[in-house]
């Protein structure tokens, strides 16, 4: 095994992480869901495995509910309930009342619905939390582990050569006889030949390992490639084409919040200009959107789509908006009535935790009582909206939700579009709910679900910042028919500091 391990020492010292986006996010794979399992309010957190097959960690938080049993079950898209394994019973976390924990195997690269069943004083209840499982990284070998394996490999190599030498020297010698020089020489030669043969086998093993590694890297999930452009027709138009041969094997797109695509533009480097658009499909893979009056510059583009298989993707590109795309007379393409955009001050060094106030369009404010934020630590982002007079601002559903929020890190390596119910994709959740037989439930009014609206004009989002750094948040609400965007900046610290 020497070759394996020398390779491991030479090249696998570093943890090689591919910043592979997966699902409807970039670099933020953990899933948060605030909702209900029947009569019980729940928060479900799923930390999907980074390799497939792999183990996901699932946490179910029930608050005050005294449950007698909590179970989780992975429902794979194709297999459905019929092909689902039996549920896994979660265990209560000692010292954390109402918190249950389970580990769940995900065997395929696919979209899954995790069915959470709660048995409690008010009877049984269930929720389905969609999650996508894709290989996200190829882990390298840590130095200590590499050294141990290399030492063991060397030991085995030397042992195997010695076995050959000993057997040739003495193996066929009748007991009591002492090997002569001829035998000893033959044994030494055999040892050299064995060493060469073993080295050859190890070299082959190394090629094998390299191939597995290369294959694993190639198999890492990457979203579909897209081509985007801004064209100046009778009006500035943003075009987006999904240009990826993998689409042929995928199910069709399905609408989420009534739109096939939610597209976000964020201007680099200050993250000052922001737009939330809904391009309209022209042909199978071509989309167009009327471009709002955004300042010129280079923009990061994130397009959220979801397939009928319940698999969401965030398609990523950058696009340059030229000068002169100010207010136009839209004729060819009417902007989507739910399109919105906002220009704010560029991101600067964000202030520490504490109350932060953002001014909203049309008067009014949004207040964020920011708690200290730490990477990889679950938090609840709470916002309060007020009108110009300081009274609670009555909110209306914006595309079926009380609010839409977008969070991104200054370098663009983290991007997520989330709602008060969490990071999950609602369309995916609805299709998995049908799979587990929840379609008979009365249509849910997500805008009035507990956990989403903790009081008039108050919003909360469950989330966990995946990496430390500087972040900008856009929190969008609708009031009096107008979309209003609160912009906040936050610094997220490293865990353990």
């Amino acid at each position: 095994m020497k070759g394996f391990f020398s390779r491991s020492l030479a090249s696998l010292v570093l943890i090689l992480l591919a910043a592979a986006p997966a699902g409807a996010h970039v670099g933020s794979p953990n899933v948060f869901y605030d909702g209900n399992a029947g009569p019980y309010p729940v928060r479900v957190i799923i930390r999907p495995p980074v390799v497939i097959p792999g183990l996901a960690e699932i946490t179910v938080k029930l608050g005050e509910t005294k449950a007698s049993e909590v179970s989780v079950q992975p429902i794979q898209w194709k297999a459905g309930m019929k092909g689902a394994p039996p549920p896994d019973v979660a265990v209560p976390v000692p010292g954390a009342p109402g918190v249950w924990s389970a580990k769940l195997w995900f065997m395929r690269s696919s979209s899954y619905g995790v069915r959470v069943q709660v048995k409690g004083p008010a009877g049984p209840g269930q929720a389905v939390v969609p999650v996508t499982t894709v290989p996200m990284q190829v882990l390298g070998m840590e130095k200590g582990m590499g050294a141990i394996l290399a030492a063991l490999g060397l030991f085995l190599f030397a042992g195997a050569v010695t076995l050959v030498v000993s057997s040739v020297r003495e193996g066929t010698l009748p007991p009591g006889e002492v090997p002569d020089e001829h035998r000893r020489r033959k044994a030494r030669i055999s040892g050299v030949l064995a060493a060469v043969l073993l080295a050859f086998l190890l070299w082959q093993g190394r090629i094998w390992w390299n191939n597995v590694n290369a294959e694993a890297r190639q198999g890492l999930y990457t979203p579909f490639h897209i081509r985007t452009a801004v064209t100046m027709e009778s009006q500035p138009v943003l075009t987006l084409a999904i240009a990826d041969e993998r689409t042929a094997d995928w199910s069709p797109l399905m609408p989420d919040h009534g739109k096939l695509m939610h597209l976000f533009l964020i201007r680099e480097p200050g993250l000052d200009a922001f737009a939330h658009l809904h391009p309209v499909r022209q042909t199978q893979d071509d989309f167009r959107a009327a471009l709002p009056p955004l300042p010129a510059g280079r923009y990061r583009l994130y397009a959220d789509v979801v397939y009928e298989s319940g698999f969401p993707q965030t398609l990523v590109d950058t696009v340059t908006i030229p000068e002169g795309t100010g207010p136009q007379v839209a004729t060819a393409i009417a902007p989507d009535p739910d399109d919105s955009w906002h220009v704010a001050e560029p991101l600067t060094a964000p202030a520490a935790a504490g109350p932060k106030i953002a001014k909203l369009e049309g008067g009014g404010t949004m207040l964020w009582n920011q708690e200290p934020l730490v990477a990889n630590r679950e938090t609840t982002l709470r916002f309060e909206t007020r009108d110009a007079e300081g009274h609670p601002l009555p909110l209306e559903p914006y595309m079926g939700m009380l609010s839409h929020a977008v969070i991104t890190r200054d370098d663009g390596k983290v991007f997520i579009h989330l709602h008060p119910m969490g990071t999950i994709n609602m369309a995916a959740q609805e299709s998995f709910e049908k799979k587990v037989g929840m379609e008979e439930m009365p249509a849910m009014d997500h805008a009035s679900m507990p956990g989403m609206n903790r009081g008039p004009s108050v919003l909360s989002f469950p989330y966990e910042f995946p990496q430390p750094g500087r972040y900008r948040l856009w929190v969008q609400v609708k009031s009096e028919g107008q979309v209003r965007t609160g912009v906040f900046d936050a610094a997220v610290g490293k865990a353990g500091k």
């Binding site: 390799v51 497939i52 689902a84 039996p86 057997s167 066929t172 006889e177 694993a216």
Partner: protein, 389 residues
Amino acid sequence: MESVAPAAIARPRVETAAALPWYLTAMLAGSTSIVIGLLWDISWHMTIGRDTFWTPAHMAIYLGGVIAGLSCGALALKTTFAGTPAERTAAVGFWGFRAPLGAWVAIWGTFAMLTSAPFDDWWHSAYGLDVKILSPPHSLLGAGMITIQIGTMLMALALQNRAPAGEGRALGLAHLYSAGIVLLMATTLITEYSYPNYQHSGIFYKIACGVFPFSLVSIARSSRRRWAATTASAFYMLLACSMVWILPLFEAHPKLGPINTPVDHMVAPLFPLLLVIPAVAIDFFVQRREEKRAGWQDAVLIAVSFLGLFLAAQWFFSAFMLSPGAQNWFFAGDRIWEYTSRPGPWRHSFLWLDTNPLTLRALGIALVLAVLSSGLGLLRGAGLAKVQR
């Protein structure tokens, strides 16, 4: 008693026909535990799916390795530091220690198995759980297991070869039993190519011709017993059949999804290959050549008869295995499908007929492989027949 004592002094008691030395018994038990654990583990993966290091099947595998390794380790320490001069001179040297060759081989196998455990654990975390069964850590584990079994075979052989002519019957049987285990290991390693559905394709016969003539011929050539390859094949079939019959008695359900085949009992291993048929011919040829030095013409003769008999046997037997006649507890023709496999008429059809047909060319390649394999088997067998320590 008085008449027995001088004989016991002149010759170690272990070389009599009646008994096996404790360490050989331990090695045989360890080898058996490993192969049972392996088949159990494969069935576990095909039935239940979910697995940790601590499954009973894994424990059987590692326990077998540890039993063999510790016994041989104890034997090495005893031989080195407290062995009689006879014991020490009947051993081989290894880094200053002394023990029989088979013990060192088995100890190496145990270390290889133990090394594979953390390696495999890391492999799962890097590339996913058993994305492919044949991986570098699994190969190391397999090499360790088979090395222990080869060590057991060598130990029995050395004791057999030192026993006076006409004695060492139990040792001879122990050798053939351990050879049967090695055959079971070999057939298990090529399971992915030996489903009845593949037994009308070229690749199956190429692989079989590469692997089995070598194993069977070297067994026949190295044993003192007349029908050695046949006996070893019978041990192989008996062990494999026991697992085919016993495992499906236990109720078990998949704990992973997607479940495409609802399984409610442990999945059976494949019904064994009918190696016993070509083994009879191999024994016949090897017996004829016992007094003379076997040459390449013998290898050709053995290869032709192996391929002819094995092809005839498996060609028709595989057709039977795909038929309703094999769908019972004895042959377990329909109990071999794992929970992830999608049911369909393909289960009762021959596959790979278009991609890997059994053409004349494929048969020619298989024959060449069989000649090489038989020739090497003759050489190896002759070498093993001389093992003394």
